[in-house]
């Protein structure tokens, strides 16, 4: 049998860092599986929760913005369908952020006792939110049938936008969870960020209602690109290309910054947690 040699140094080389993640992929699967399993075992309503939440929020948005405030979708799709299509990626993003940011502190007993690439922990909590997303997506299909709304050929691009949502929430989640280890009261700020984000992200309205000159600036929010992309794929709404490119670029930068910050802080996790 080949003997594996491990070299421990103050700085981990780039190659070894990524190779180690590959080596620990089984632990990653099993931790993700644990998180999913526990999530649906612990709550009484379990999976139903990931249906109830987006549906109720969509109903409330429709009543308040559409019926009372007379806000409508400038595109073809019904207002409530537009809201739900935006609500899906948003809720995935919001869940991922809150789950990921608490993930390291929540697994402190593992981190102080066993070695594994720490990035596995926030990654598996984003994966868990992905399962919620998948369940809510079934409701979307029901809604599309109900409204007899057939997505065009764009729908084949949907996986790309799902990946983009994943990357955006993973990048920010990495940053938040590392900050959370260092500043333990940071977690109180996260619900606020999520709440605030809901209003500055085009969930209850279409980004087409914005004045043309602000649209590019607005796309600095990566979720603008994701939600517009979802609506483009599923509801055949027009995609604002420059804005999408900016959102995509910001998403990639966020991932890069998140990983870099996480790696810098990672060495101190066992000592600081």
């Amino acid at each position: 049998m080949e003997i594996e040699e491990i070299v421990i140094k103050p700085e981990v080389s780039e190659k070894n860092y990524w190779r180690d993640i590959w080596r620990y992929r089984e632990l990653f699967y099993i931790l993700s599986w644990r998180d999913i399993k526990v999530r649906y075992k612990q709550t009484v309503i379990g999976a139903a929760w990931s249906i109830i939440r987006p549906v109720l929020t969509t109903i409330i948005f429709t009543i308040i913005f559409n019926r009372i405030a007379r806000l409508d979708n400038p595109g073809n799709a019904p207002y409530s369908l537009m809201v739900f299509v935006g609500m899906l990626p948003w809720q995935f993003f919001a869940n991922s952020l809150s789950e990921a940011s608490n993930s390291l502190v929540g697994n402190a007993n593992l981190i102080t006792k066993v070695y594994f690439p720490r990035i596995i922990i926030p990654a598996s909590s984003v994966i868990t939110s992905m399962v919620d997303f998948a369940i809510s997506f079934l409701i979307l299909i029901v809604m599309l049938v109900w409204y007899r709304y057939l997505p065009g050929y764009h729908v084949v691009f949907l996986p790309l936008f799902i990946i983009m949502a994943f990357v955006a929430s993973f990048g920010i989640g990495l940053y938040l969870t590392a900050v959370n280890v260092k500043y333990r009261d940071f977690r109180y700020i996260i619900p606020f960020i999520v709440q605030f984000g809901l209003y500055i992200t085009p969930v209850g309205f279409s980004s087409h209602v914005l004045p043309e000159k602000y649209r590019l600036l607005y796309s600095i929010n990566p979720m603008v690109g994701v939600i517009d992309g979802f609506r483009w794929c599923l509801l055949n709404e027009e995609l604002y290309i420059p804005g999408f490119i900016l959102s995509l670029a910001i998403t990639i930068i966020l991932l890069y910054v998140g990983v870099a910050y996480f790696r810098r802080m990672e060495k101190g996790f066992a000592d600081n947690i």
Partner: protein, 411 residues
């Protein structure tokens, strides 16, 4: 063949800031509040107060471990043993230096690390196995063995939160026992919590190291266990390797270190020291065997002729194992001979040693006529009992903590 572990000039330092706080993490509000304070205070006046200092938990640590070595790492609390193990098991990175490890490495951890109470026994076997570093296929292969070892067949699909504590420990241990790394790391401090589990862990270690020829690194305060399990040793002192070599020489260096520290100041834990115990001398301290005579003399100092005021004072001795449990106690009052006058500057006591081979700590004290403490020194001296009977007869590895002679006759 290359050594399985090569440690070169490892150092680990922590930055300690003197803010009078002990938390590892900061609160954001403090940082913000501190920042605001700084803005409003006159430039440099605040900066001087917050001093920070680099503290070295380990420095210049170098050693090599050959395949099949069983290495005991000893040293006092704070010597850096646990930090060294944490670096070797990659939980925390070193600040400087380099380590090469050739072979699969695993640690025996606290009972059921990573067990999730909501998950079933079956699920937890896979989870815990993966956390300890086993591959899925490997766990699958050993699954039946693990289950029968733990004796939990009937409860495999029950969440472990409904397990009795005995079942829980058995399952946790069963998984750990089926690990087969080339290098095993055991921290006694981590393995405690359950005496039975600890015993099983030690049994497993012995099995792994002696019978299967694996490499073991073992951190312990229990010199008896180190001696019986290990063939090599490393003595750490304030973050540096003080000695390394065969286990016998390490242990005697360690006990010399303990005693030389102790002789400086005894720890007085009770009494007003009207009469103070200055020094406890044990004749042939490191040469005694089972059933040998122990001769102890206790040197005393008194304030203002205190003896005149005390009548019926009497002494006691306690023998502790290295974990601090009292194994044997000896009280002068049992003989009903008390001292009534100043006996000179020392008191002598002779007794027959009933302690089995191992390392012990000695405490001694004085009571006055009201059974109030006059003095009590804890862990004042160490005592090493050799693995032999008096008269250099070979020891028979008998069970127990103490052994006595008795009258035997046919009725």
């Amino acid at each position: 063949m290359k050594p399985v572990i090569e440690v070169k000039n490892i150092a680990k330092s922590f930055i300690i800031t003197h803010e009078g706080k002990k938390e590892n993490y900061k609160a954001l509000r403090d940082v913000i509040a501190g920042g605001v304070k700084k803005m409003f205070s006159f430039s440099n006046s605040m900066r001087g107060r917050q001093t920070s200092e680099e503290f070295f938990a380990l420095k210049n640590v170098s050693f090599e471990v050959e395949a099949g070595d069983r290495v005991g790492i000893v040293g006092r609390n704070g010597a850096g043993k646990s930090t060294l193990l944490k670096i070797l098991s990659r939980i925390t990175p070193p600040t400087a230096g380099e380590i090469a490890i050739r072979g699969r490495i695993a640690s025996l951890l606290e009972v059921g690390t990573g067990f999730h109470p909501e998950l079933t026994g079956r699920e937890n076997i896979y989870l815990n196995g993966a956390i300890l570093g086993m591959k899925r296929a490997e766990i699958k292969n050993k699954f039946d063995d693990i289950v029968s070892f733990a004796e939990v067949e009937k409860f495999l699909d029950t969440p472990v939160k409904r397990y009795s504590s005995g079942m829980y420990v058995r399952l946790a241990f069963a998984v750990a026992a089926h690990l087969d790394p080339e290098i095993l790391i055991v921290d006694e401090v981590l393995a405690v919590g359950d005496a039975q589990f600890q015993k099983k862990c030690l049994g497993k270690m012995e099995d792994v190291s002696k019978n299967e020829g694996r490499t073991v690194l073992f951190v312990s305060h229990n010199m008896g266990i180190v001696k019986s399990l290990c063939n090599k040793g490393i003595l750490l002192n304030q973050g540096e390797v003080e000695h390394s070599g065969n286990v016998q020489s390490i242990l005697s260096a360690y006990s010399d270190q303990l005693v030389s520290d102790n002789s400086v100041v005894y720890k007085h834990i009770a009494g007003d020291q009207r009469v103070e115990i200055k020094k406890i001398n044990i004749a042939r301290r490191n040469e005694l065997s089972v059933y040998d005579k122990i001769s102890i003399s206790i040197n005393l100092a008194q304030t203002d002729n205190a003896w005149q005021l005390i009548t019926k004072y009497h002494f006691f001795l306690l023998f502790h194992n290295m974990e601090g449990d009292v194994i044997w106690s000896v009280f002068q009052k049992d003989n009903e001979n008390y001292f009534d006058r100043m006996p000179g500057n020392s008191v002598k006591v002779d007794l027959l040693n009933i302690l089995l081979p191992g390392s012990y700590l000695i405490s001694a004290g004085i009571f006055d006529h009201n059974d109030q403490f006059v003095d009590w020194v804890e862990y004042a001296e160490t005592l090493e009992i050799l693995s032999a009977f008096a008269g250099n007869k070979t020891f028979d590895n008998r069970y127990g903590k103490v052994t006595t002679k008795a009258e035997w006759y046919v009725d």
